[in-house]
């Protein structure tokens, strides 16, 4: 476990993978020291942001091994089956880049079982791990000015779903009507880290 100081108000804890990052988040969250502002998991890190007037970084650093001892996961895991109309703007390009035909791209994308690695980019945007290795394609050279809400897209080793219309550089395979983020819900983000996601093609 490597830990880096980030400015005067955060530690970046490097862990094995997103599962470990999520479990460390839960572990610290069970008995958070006073002054913690954010526990923000990434692909293989947990950013621990704190108020330096309330919490001494050295003290936090000392307590981290104790938190690392308790990496059980108590969070409920949900499975989301998400209906997708596979008529995305970049389907043809992805087929060309991967050397597969359109039907095979759709088959492989909808056959995989995904795990929500972490949320980022926009409220409720899930980074979904588990993409078929043959579907790994780079982002667009130049991002689109507007990707519509519900766009199901891929980039590098991830699939993702745009919760709202934003600029974006991922390649769009299809669209869903599912509402991924609603601040008025008790749990605003539909997909939480650790949840399972699968896509079902609809016409």
């Amino acid at each position: 476990m490597n830990i880096r100081y980030v400015g005067d108000s955060a530690l970046l804890v490097e862990v094995q993978d997103f599962r470990a990052a999520q479990r460390l988040r839960e572990s610290i969250g069970r008995q958070p020291p006073n002054g913690i502002r954010e526990l923000l998991p990434g692909y293989d890190t947990l950013l621990v942001e704190f108020d330096p007037l309330q919490l001494d970084a050295a003290e936090l650093l000392q307590r981290l091994p104790e938190f690392m001892q308790d990496l059980r996961s108590a969070a409920a895991v949900h499975t989301h089956e998400i209906e997708v109309r596979y008529q995305g703007e970049d389907l043809e390009d992805v087929a060309r880049l991967t050397g597969l035909d359109r039907a095979e791209v759709i088959r492989r994308h909808s056959a995989a079982n995904y795990t929500v690695a972490f949320l980022g980019f926009a409220p409720g945007f899930p980074y979904l791990a588990g993409l078929d290795a043959r579907l790994r394609v780079p982002r667009l050279q130049s991002p689109r000015a507007r990707v519509p809400a519900g766009a199901v897209a891929i980039a590098d080793e991830f699939s993702g779903i745009y919760p709202q219309a934003t600029p974006g550089g991922w390649r769009i395979l299809g669209h869903t009507k599912v509402v991924l983020f609603d601040a008025a819900r008790a749990s605003p983000a539909l997909c939480m880290p650790g949840d399972h996601v699968c896509f079902r093609p609809v016409s």
Partner: protein
């Protein structure tokens, strides 16, 4: 109630932001210059983090339907109440029916208007903050909008002990790292020696910089990881971006340094064209600076009787309105003499 006659360039409602939801991908948002927000609220007797108006480069024109106690802080601008110049950095009573016209900012990037009692808006994820990038909170002000005010009791006037000064040349203190291995050995030195101009395409998510020399870095990107306000990211083109409160929660560009907490409010006042330098300090120095800033905030606002407020106001008006300088100074001096 307040009616918006002219919305200004980009006027939004801001408070301390929606902290604690970053793991859902929700940016913190909130005031870009949190210190000026706190100053404005202190002057009208509100909790420091109460919702206020954040104005960008050019302020709004507003009609008050009720009596109110207001205060304007942040970058210096010319402000008029029914065509009479109004001082910033102190509380001012506004009567029902009066029109407050905020002009262009002469210094800094953002001004703040707090109203005694606070602006009443729906809370979304524990904050009233406008976040146009994530699409959360109220939209930016438009002509015809009505703002509802919370009830308040008019209290004694207050003024700011030392109004802020915003310069065209700014040095921000940073702690280097955390991704030092992404940069060749000479890059950090040249980054700290370099001088950067704030670009016009900066916004509430980040300040984009243009330097004479690019910051050299290794190719590629990091796996996505948590980011925080003040992080100085270096994208592939070597032109740094300093993150502001509306930044995306995760990112993949390596971070060469992070602005210390005590200097974060200054980020919100960097206007396009400002020349920026970075100075490395250690964590102990950063903490000392933050303690000093907290102590300053504790004693920032001072109670004053109406006579003293008027005298101070005239002195400030002399600064903001060169044409009125002599008249203001004379009146101000007479006020001060009368008080003695």
């Amino acid at each position: 109630m307040i009616t918006v006659i002219e919305p200004g360039r980009f006027t939004s409602i801001q408070d301390e932001g929606r902290g604690g939801f970053a793991h859902l991908g929700v940016p913190r948002a909130g005031a870009a210059d949190s210190l000026s927000l706190r100053h404005a609220n202190l002057l009208v007797g509100n909790p420091q983090g109460a919702a206020a108006l954040e104005m960008t480069l050019h302020g709004p024109t507003l009609r008050f339907a009720v009596d109110a106690l207001i205060a304007l802080t942040g970058g210096r601008m010319q402000v008029y109440l029914d065509d009479v110049p109004l001082p910033m950095y102190q509380s001012v009573s506004v009567c029902a029916g009066q029109v407050l016209a905020c002009g262009p900012l002469l210094t800094g990037m953002r001004g703040y208007l707090a109203v005694g009692g606070g602006i009443s808006t729906a809370q979304l994820l524990a904050s009233a903050a406008t976040d146009t990038l994530a699409g959360l909170g109220p939209p930016v002000l438009r002509a015809g909008d009505c703002l509802t005010l919370r009830p308040h009791s008019l209290l004694q006037g207050r003024y700011l002990r030392s109004p802020p000064e915003f310069s065209e040349q700014v040095t921000l203190r940073v702690i280097t790292g955390p991704h030092q291995e992404w940069f060749p050995a000479t890059a950090l030195g040249s980054f700290l020696d370099g001088c950067y101009r704030v670009r016009a395409d900066s916004d509430r998510s980040g300040i984009r910089l243009a330097g004479a020399t690019v910051v050299e870095r290794n190719p590629g990107e990091l796996p996505s990881q948590g980011m925080l306000t003040g992080a100085v990211q270096v994208p592939g083109d070597g032109q740094p971006i300093v993150l502001l409160p509306n930044h995306g929660t995760t990112g993949g560009y390596p971070v060469i340094a992070v602005v210390i907490s005590a200097d974060l409010p200054q980020l919100g006042q960097l206007r396009p064209g400002v020349l920026l330098r970075f100075q490395a300090v250690n964590r102990e120095q950063a903490l000392q600076a933050l303690r000093y800033a907290a102590e300053n905030l504790r004693t920032a606002s001072v109670c004053a009787d109406p006579g003293l407020l008027e005298a101070r106001g005239l002195m400030l008006l002399a600064k903001a309105h060169p044409a009125l300088r002599e008249a203001c100074l004379q009146l101000g001096r007479r006020r001060v003499r009368l008080r003695r």
